[in-house]
């Protein structure tokens, strides 16, 4: 009953026979536990520090810029007079994310269903790590690939003429960044959705086969719905990644704030505004400096909401099958 960590029956040490008591109070053990707890608490401190570092300058920002102006659609902090309508950069982020997910979701889910329902164990064992290598490629490299290959060799030849203003001759566009991010995100969706579908018990599949269902039907009508919360979680996490992606957008989508969802124009996303502005020589405390933090707050809140949804969904699907 003296085992450390036994919370059911905590007996006061004084009641134990002398020979069963610990020979010393073991302050070292307590100190170690304290140190380890401190390591865990550091993560909470990190989050607090993020929130604090965002809030201060953001409040300073709103002392100068009204909330109604902030939720406008004109973003031109360098002009005179400057205009801070954050919706222009939010639209830039949504533009890139929307077109990215349009490609990434079907491809990622297709790959996931293939991995979990069709591939043999050996194929799966080689394909999955290969896909995960793709997820580990630095985003600078993907951004460079998007400008030097995806844009001139894929988008411009395949884009239908003057549709939406045409794609020829443009050095930057949202769609190039979208496809680059899709490349980065497909492995995330594929890998996490595959995990979710592989966790569906065999019995469900075998029951369906016994009733005469084909493999495609088992995959789409039994396994897919059973793993849905895990799949949705992987997609939400992928969206959160796309929203937070910086380097691919900076390199491939240009830096022209534009309130549009047109994929073949240059845009500026929230992340790329932060990256471009904060690297330039802006004086600390200026309104442009504070605007970086205001945009950062919006970005943080958006990704936070998606992360919470994703974490909740994962937990729910875990409860069902474990």
């Amino acid at each position: 009953m003296t085992r450390a960590g036994d919370k059911q029956a905590p007996e006061p040490a004084g009641d134990l026979p002398r020979r069963l008591r610990a020979p010393s109070p073991r302050y070292g053990e307590k100190a170690i536990q304290g140190l380890l707890a401190l390591c865990g608490i550091l993560s909470v401190i990190t989050t607090t520090a993020i929130v604090v570092s965002l809030i201060g300058p953001t409040i300073g920002f709103f002392e100068v810029v009204s909330v109604s102006e902030f939720f406008g659609t004109e973003w031109s902090p360098q002009f005179e007079p400057p205009s801070f309508g954050v919706l222009a950069t939010v639209a830039g982020t949504l533009n890139v994310t929307l077109w990215c997910m349009l490609f990434a979701i079907p491809i990622g889910l297709g790959a996931a269903i293939y991995l979990s329902e069709y591939a043999t164990a050996r194929v799966r064992k080689t394909l999955k790590p290969t896909l995960e290598v793709l997820a580990g490629i630095p985003t600078v490299a993907i951004g460079f690939f998007a400008v030097t290959f995806i844009l001139p060799e894929i988008i411009q030849p395949l884009w239908p003429g003057d549709f939406l203003g045409g794609a020829t001759g443009k050095p930057f566009m949202a769609l190039a960044a979208s496809l680059g991010i899709a490349l980065m995100i497909v492995p995330i969706i594929a890998s996490l959705s595959d995990d979710a579908m592989s966790a569906v018990p065999r019995g469900l599949r075998e029951g369906a086969y016994a009733l005469g269902a084909t493999r495609a039907k088992v995959a789409t009508r039994v396994v897919f719905p059973a793993a849905l919360s895990g799949i949705v979680a992987s997609i939400v996490l992928a969206i959160s990644r796309a929203v937070g992606e910086t380097m691919i957008i900076v390199l491939a989508a240009g830096s022209t704030p534009d309130f549009t969802l047109n994929p073949v124009v240059s845009i500026q996303a929230m992340t790329s505004y932060i990256a471009v502005t904060a690297t330039g020589d802006i004086p600390t405390g200026s309104i442009a400096y504070k605007s970086v933090f205001a945009v950062g707050s919006v970005l943080f809140l958006m990704t936070l909401a998606m992360n919470v949804i994703s974490i909740r969904l994962v937990r729910r699907y875990r409860e069902v099958y474990e």
């Binding site: 293939y114 951004g143 495609a216």
Partner: protein, 313 residues
């Protein structure tokens, strides 16, 4: 007894044969629509995974095609140059990246393992503060890297720590960025050690910490090392947060941890990639090749390690 003889009557035999034929026909000949649909579906799935792999292959080929001309030993010995791209290189950037990574490892290994040990071995999961730490780490793992840049800018470069725009600030920022990854991986490795090992050790009179240090940790080292390598390779390729904490594009000297400017490989690549001359584009591609070779080697090693030492208890 009578049932046996009944089954043998010609009439019954006929009925059984008919039923069997019907069943077999149903099982053998799927409706043609189903066959086509199934094949088509499987082909589409295969296509999806092939597109993803083709993207990976195209990225590698493109980097080599464009960077091959700039690949030379100069990349490792020369500093950057804005006027003479033919002799420009990545020396300060590579040294900067190595120093950044060293700092990340120094910070992340003890704290990551410590936090994981606390959560797995000590924390009472029914307490709200432990659940808070857990959810908080999951969320931190998905916070955009540029937000960590903002954190580094206002807490490490300026604010409470006030290090200035130095390499140590960049290193600490990257460390905070990848810390959740290390914690999550280490927790999984620790969780995979079966309880019977702990109970055996405790039953022999070891204290809790002795059990952890001599039994749990050695058994989970491969998983932890894998997690650390993957985290370090993420830190190595990360450019966005460094842009905010002072990694300058143009550093011609070998960077030092606590004074002067610094740069890193991905930041230098980014800088070359934004210049339009062809020579700089080739340089960027060559830098990407160097970075990818290092990263692929690290990642493959991590995956090999995981598969090689994965213990099934």
């Amino acid at each position: 007894m009578t049932m046996g003889s009944e089954r043998a009557t010609p009439r019954n035999r006929l009925a059984v044969a008919g039923a069997r034929a019907t069943t077999q026909a149903m099982l053998r000949d799927q409706p043609r629509g189903d066959v086509i649909r199934n094949t088509l579906f499987a082909a589409l799935l295969l296509l999806a995974i092939l597109i993803a792999l083709a993207g990976l292959v195209a990225l590698l080929i493109q980097a080599f095609a464009q960077g091959a001309s700039a690949l030379s030993i100069d990349l490792f010995t020369n500093g950057p140059s804005s006027i003479r791209p033919e002799s420009a290189g990545f020396r300060p950037a590579i040294i900067g990246s190595l120093e950044l990574i060293a700092g990340v490892i120094l910070f992340v290994v003890p704290i990551g393992i410590g936090a994981a040990l606390y959560l797995e071995e000590y924390a009472d999961k029914t307490r709200w503060w432990n659940r808070l730490i857990e959810v908080n780490i999951q969320n931190l793992a998905a916070v955009p890297s540029i937000i960590y840049g903002i954190l580094g800018l206002s807490f490490i470069v300026r604010g409470p720590l006030d290090l200035g725009f130095v390499l140590a600030a960049g290193s600490l920022t990257l460390a905070l960025l990848v810390l959740p990854m290390v914690i999550i991986a280490a927790r999984e490795a620790i969780r995979a050690v079966p309880d019977s090992i702990r109970q055996g050790s405790l039953a022999l009179g070891a204290t809790k910490w002795q059990t952890i240090r001599r039994q749990v940790l050695p058994a989970s080292i491969p998983g932890i090392v894998t997690g650390v390598i993957l985290a370090v390779s993420r830190a190595l390729g990360e450019a966005a947060p460094l842009l905010l904490v002072g990694a300058a594009a143009f550093v011609t000297f070998d960077p030092e941890p606590f004074s002067g400017g610094y740069t890193a490989l991905p930041v230098q690549i980014y800088n070359y990639a934004t210049r339009s001359q062809e020579e700089f584009q080739a340089l960027a591609a060559a830098g990407i090749i160097v970075m990818l070779v290092v990263l692929l080697a690290m990642n493959s090693f991590a995956i090999w390690l995981r598969n090689r030492y994965e213990q099934r208890w």
